[in-house]
Amino acid sequence: MNEKLRSIINKTLLPVAALLIVLGVWYVVCESGSVPQFLLPSPQAVWQAFLKDRQLLMKHARVTLTETFIGLFFGIIIGFLSAVVMDRFSIVRKMLYPLIIITQTIPTVAIAPLLVLWLGYKMLPKIVLIVLIVFFPIAIGLLEGFQSVDADTVNLMRSMGAKRLQIFRIVKMPSALGHFFSGLKISVSYAVVGAVLAEWLGGTEGLGCYMTRVRKAYAYDKMFAVIILISVISLLMIWLTDMLQKSLMPWEKVNKKRRLPT
């Protein structure tokens, strides 16, 4: 019980307290009038802007989320397939791995306008950008997971007469799940940001477009509202990934609690 209480304090109470302090300082600064309202809107102004525009925000959020999920879906599939191929054929790995690393050094901000130019103002360039962002952490994470499998374990499975596909399904895939989820957590948060970024550069729908419009109108209260909304969406996505991981990897709970020497 005592331990549980401590865990609640550490994991919930302390971060919430920090958040409240930040909000409090923000509130006091705005109320005291030391910063003009049009530069930094107070927390209530942001909240009211959110309430006033909530239908519009939800409409745009739906578009952004659709792009994010479609992009995530294809990004994960492509990432998974390339990790499997790179794991199976070392020549492919040696050829592709450096190439993949190089593509990651190109800033997303630089590719986004090109994609819009090539693929138009609809959803496609946004989805392609998300796929590009998502693909990398998934592919690299999974590949590392596949390669980290203990050679003796694979030998034992082989001695039991296991086929390559069985070894993949029974040993490699579950071993790589942890790596996969580490990659996925990075991917989901970047995916939302990537969608917004692509929307800045062109299009008529999505939170990014909304953001561009309110910025041009100098409506900073709405600007803050949409920024916070994007953060909340990202956090929710990470939380969902976490939940998914916990339900797919029930052994992690036990293994974390008790690591006995082998």
Partner: protein
């Protein structure tokens, strides 16, 4: 009745320097034979050949008279590391050889579960390996080995990672279980006491390349008497082996 026969096996990784030369081993049904030798003497390589993971340049491996040289899945194999998969429950780990053979999951679990009491791991079915002690995990690994093949088993220093007390408890447990399941076994160890305590016969593997230098028969009743390892007889065997190793 001969269960397993290794005939004139010569093996080399690079076709130039042989690691094993002209190895001959026979394992009778229900017998427990020890392979005793220094580390790096090719014991594990020999096991890989017998298990079919490495194909010898010369010689044959026969199981019940059938040539199984270079084919896996016939003889079970257990290493010092228990190698239970951390993401499978104990029963799913143990049932793995059955599942690989195509037995439906539910039946495989049932068959595996029915041996848990005999192997002294009753009640651990739904736990994960990390929740078990080292000794219990070795027992589970042992059961997995047995379910893999009841014909013949190769154990590569299965108890060497355990502490002394757990080890002697495991020895008693092992002899009792073996007495019940009568699994023909070749057992690798570098521990002379363990070899005398457990086996019916001991092969000494030595030299470079590895050859069988000697064979010692332990003529003692099984199960061993209590405190066998403190008797004069035990010491005589030990002196004999030490003199032969030198």
């Amino acid at each position: 009745m001969t269960a397993l026969e290794v005939k004139n096996v010569t093996f080399s990784y690079d076709n130039v320097t042989p690691v094993l030369e002209n190895i001959n081993i026979t394992l009778n049904k229900g017998e427990l034979v020890c392979l005793l030798g220094v580390s790096g003497g090719g014991k594990t390589t020999l096991f890989n050949v017998i298990a079919g993971l490495n194909r010898p340049q010369q010689g044959q491996v026969l199981l019940n008279g059938e040539d199984i040289t270079g084919s896996t899945g016939k003889i079970s194999y257990m290493l010092q590391k228990d190698m239970l998969l951390p993401f499978r429950t104990v029963v799913d780990n143990v049932a793995l050889p059955l599942i690989l053979r195509g037995v439906p999951k539910r039946r495989a679990r049932q068959t595996a579960g029915s041996h848990f009491a005999q192997f002294g791991i009753e009640g651990t079915q739904k736990q994960y390996p990390a929740e078990l002690s080292g000794g219990m995990r070795q027992r589970a690994a042992m059961l997995r080995t047995y379910l893999f093949s009841g014909e013949a088993a190769l154990l590569d220093e299965p108890f060497s990672a355990l502490d002394t007390l757990t080890k002697s408890e495991m020895h008693r447990w092992y002899l009792r279980v073996m007495d019940e399941i009568k699994l023909s076994t070749i057992f690798i160890t570098h521990d002379i006491d363990e070899a005398i305590l457990l086996s019916d016969r001991i092969y000494l593997l030595g030299g470079k390349p590895g050859t069988i230098t000697d064979e010692i028969v332990i003529r003692e009743p099984k199960p061993r008497q209590e405190d066998f390892n403190l008797t004069e007889d035990f010491l005589r065997y030990k002196k004999l082996i030490i003199s032969k190793i030198r």
